[in-house]
């Protein structure tokens, strides 16, 4: 018996494969978002200090990943997406040259005993930091990374990272002094 494959059947098989691959990527990215979307958003938010910009960056990163990233090519999705978010965020800052002023809150309380006044003062102090210092504060304080891990994640030396953290804390201490 001779098996022949018509053009139509080849096309439909090809389309099915493409649809399967696309659905697979969609599931993968939706999974990445469910698992670490909020964390990635918070990272972008701390670099940019602007909710709208953070949303734009995340949207851009996921759309780009959808276009080019088969699942098997991303060995460590958390690191891959963190780096992508970081690159997109700094790229946006370079395009803007000046950070967008935002009145909105970028923090939310996680413990008792918080006051709106205290939160406002902390937000003001954080927004006064350069993005690179806010980034180090975020990765060290909120993601629990050691300075070495922060250095690995950002591609900076451990000395640079620890210096940025020290400068950030010094500046925040000065700014928060009267209210603290």
């Amino acid at each position: 018996m001779i098996h022949t494959k018509t053009w139509d059947s080849r096309v439909s098989v090809s389309e099915e494969m493409r649809e399967d691959a696309a659905a697979d990527r969609r599931r993968f990215l939706a999974g990445v978002y469910r698992e670490s979307g909020a964390q990635l958003y918070r990272y972008a938010l701390m670099i940019l200090a602007h909710r709208g910009d953070a949303e734009d960056v995340l949207q851009q990163v996921f759309a780009a990943a959808l276009g080019k990233a088969p699942r098997r090519e991303i060995a460590d999705p958390a690191a891959y997406f963190r780096t992508a978010v970081r690159n997109a965020a700094y790229s946006l800052l370079r395009q803007r040259r000046t950070a967008r002023a935002a009145e909105e809150l970028i923090l939310e309380p996680v413990a008792g005993g918080c006051s709106p006044l205290e939160q406002a003062a902390l937000e003001q102090a954080l927004k006064a930091l350069p993005p690179e210092q806010r980034e180090v504060v975020h990765l060290h304080v909120y993601e629990g990374m050691t300075f070495q891990e922060v250095a690995n994640a950002t591609g900076e030396s451990i000395n640079t990272v620890s210096a940025r953290y020290r400068y950030a804390v010094d500046k925040m201490r000065r700014l928060l002094g009267p209210t603290g």
Partner: protein, 124 residues
């Protein structure tokens, strides 16, 4: 305030979470992107096919167009004679027109005769 106080203050808060609306919008945009990527891309093929068809029809039409008939040169002496007879400022133009019409009529008569001869030869 000491460094530890700053650290402690930071840990009472955390960066805000994305809004529910944004999450839904992001996931919907992923769906839209996927839908766009999986749509069969017919436009480039349709455009290419239309262009090919147009070129083919154009070439076919050009190849079927008979070569332009070469107008025989006007009989200069006849034109001159007629112009002299007509006289006036536009005599030469009128003479050329008349001679051209005469030559065309003669050519048609000659062609008719040739076709008759050929037809008779075939009949024999």
């Amino acid at each position: 305030m000491h460094d530890d106080d700053v650290d402690g203050l930071l840990r009472k808060y955390r960066p805000a979470a994305p809004s529910r609306a944004f999450e839904e919008s992001l996931l919907q945009s992923l769906d839209r992107e996927i839908l766009g990527a999986t749509q069969p891309r017919t436009w480039p093929w349709a455009v290419a096919a239309a262009a090919l068809l147009t070129i083919t029809i154009g070439l076919h039409a050009v190849s079927r167009t008979p070569p332009a008939q070469v107008e025989p040169a006007l009989d200069a002496r006849r034109v001159q004679d007629l112009a002299d007879d007509i006289g006036g400022p536009h005599a030469r133009a009128m003479a050329e027109f008349i001679v051209r019409q005469e030559q065309r009529a003669n050519a048609e008569v000659e062609q008719g005769r040739a076709e008759d001869v050929a037809r008779e030869a075939v009949n024999r």
